[in-house]
Symmetry: C2
Subunit: 353 residues, 2 copies
């Protein structure tokens, strides 16, 4: 079966490119003696998680309990969930995950999450490893002051079923190394070691070794790459392993083509203007710009395109952001050079809890 026979729109995964991306990152991490812990949020596929582990990854990263649970059910043992687990309704799912994983780690930034993690670990009769998350430029989660990181680390140390494993951040901002140095020196006064220093983010993945003291790298998008990571210089367009295939379904004017793939297929995620215009890159039609999306339509400005696509033509799109594209699709089509290898259920899609 060829990709050309599949009804559009659909997501195609070039397995050769994905495997090359996996091996290149693994080689880089090993060259610099950094443990690689891929984030599965990008592919949400047990098959690719197993490929990442087979290549040498120490474990996986997941963002939610549900995402981690799918991977553990698929036979993956070592999972780090880099998300504050909060709320009484999370106790049972977290305890179940702790019981089923061979090793569960949590990244968190507050005492409420620590206390819940302790209760879940106790209920599962297990130990959960805890990384304290700190701020290094995302202005999202993470404690600001090293002294607050120290206080949380000590709270973890006092919890009988938790083990303080170190610190984590996302992305790996310029301030990260200094922050960890300071937090480690504070904790040394308490006789507590912070073994792990974990940082994340594909855009600057090849610079991870420049962060002094980093022991672990969490990256997700690198497995597929996308317009954002290409724009950031982490990959070339030819490294991109995920393409949305779409059909031209209308050409109302000479300079406008409309595709059967909208925000339900591509997401409405944007990228920095210097990385490119519009909502995706049409590989075979350089100069085309996806100027707007509705749920099922992409409107493409083809005024700068030499060979303009006609109704019925199938185009291939590198999306702005690969990860949420995986989340939209129940199935992706794995192929090698256009020959279909299988229709793979995106087992961990829809796991927001």
């Amino acid at each position: 079966v060829l990709l050309n026979d599949i009804e559009t729109p659909f997501v195609a995964i070039d397995l050769g490119r994905a495997e090359a991306n996996i091996h290149a990152a693994q080689a880089y991490a090993e060259e610099h003696a950094i443990a690689l812990r891929p984030h599965v949020k990008t592919h949400k596929l047990p098959a690719l998680a197993h490929a990442q582990l087979a290549a040498g990854a120490v474990g996986i990263t997941a963002q939610k309990i549900g995402e981690a649970a799918v991977m553990v059910a698929a036979g993956i043992g070592d999972v780090l969930v880099t998300f504050n687990i909060v709320g009484e309704s999370k106790l049972v799912p977290l305890a179940r995950l702790a019981g089923e994983a061979q090793r569960l780690g949590l990244g968190l930034d507050n005492a409420v999450s620590i206390d819940l993690a302790q209760r879940a670990a106790e209920q599962a009769n297990r130990t959960i490893d805890v990384l304290i998350e700190f701020e290094s430029g995302a202005n999202r989660t993470g404690v600001i002051e090293p002294s607050d990181g120290r206080a949380l680390a000590l709270r973890v140390e006092r919890a009988p079923n938790l083990r303080f494993a170190g610190f984590m951040t996302y992305p790996l901002g310029a301030s990260a190394a200094g922050w960890v140095r300071e937090a480690r020196s504070l904790l040394a006064q308490d006789g507590v070691a912070a073994d792990t220093f974990s940082g994340g983010g594909t855009p600057r993945m090849w610079h991870a070794h420049e962060t002094e003291g980093l022991t672990e790298l969490r990256i997700g998008t690198y497995v597929y790459h996308d317009r954002a990571t290409v724009g950031a210089g982490a990959a070339a367009l030819d490294d991109c392993a995920l393409h949305v295939h779409a059909t031209v379904i209308s050409t109302p004017t000479a300079t406008r083509a409309v595709l059967d793939a909208g925000s339900k297929t591509l997401t409405s995620d944007r990228i920095a203007p210097e990385y490119g215009a519009g909502f995706g890159h049409l590989v075979d039609h350089p100069g085309a710009i996806i100027t707007s999306l509705s749920e099922e339509h992409a409107v493409v400005d083809v005024s700068e395109v030499e060979r303009r696509p006609a109704i019925g033509d199938v185009v291939r799109i590198v999306p702005n952001h690969a990860c949420p594209v995986s989340n939209l699709h129940d199935v992706v089509y794995a192929h090698r050079g256009g020959a279909l290898e299988g229709a793979w259920p995106v087992a961990a899609r829809g796991t927001t809890r």
Copy 2:
């Protein structure tokens, strides 16, 4: 069971409000003798489609074959698919839909789609009703010139298994009535009548009767409403029937709260700045602004909020755009006044084909 016991993030549907929205639109349409054909893309739920028909809708609108097929399988007979069906791989699914629906209509704007519709109808041994789509301000699909509309109408008339039913557009721009008048007068020379004039769009739904000659109204978002339709003046915030419930999982600074709901839960759809800032409205915390989303996090600026939420607090969010939120979730929680009526599978989610 109360909504409060459900693990966040999740989507709650206030059935009382949804029913009130359904009945208000139906009363308006009947007052103006306009047929109402709700678009199911907003809710993607057979139960609400049946409620819309029970209230007096003449049929439903769907955007893709797959979306329509779910509704037909749930016992709904009269479906209009307002999307150009293009591509050889669509022939079998379209023929199957034509065979299973009591009445199938298609909205299209080109000869390729007409010819495919004829082949599918012939294969199903059925007649498909065809509306020719025209441009009225969306700059998306739709023929530009009334003379082109006439030519396509005549092509439909010549196809043995197709019936030319009239014209459709989205949204209902100011030029729409004039366009249809001109196309009708051209077709009168051929002795062809265009019975249906169908227009769509919730934002200006209450102005539909101002469009001369309109016979049918297609609206979707009105069943839930959202920040965009409230901003457009089509509803009040209290009419909104869909809320995302999310938990505060971090408060790294005094003015920043982070929620466990990101673009995988809310979508990254934006709205016009004059309709409000950020990625959703926190009903119980006026002044809060969701300044950024990542896949699982919403970062909220609470500097203007009087009673700032704490870690563990659950907040309710009216999203910018309700329809793609439905598409992200496998299940929504239907309730009356916070008392759970059921966890409803979003049967038509993920139907991009």
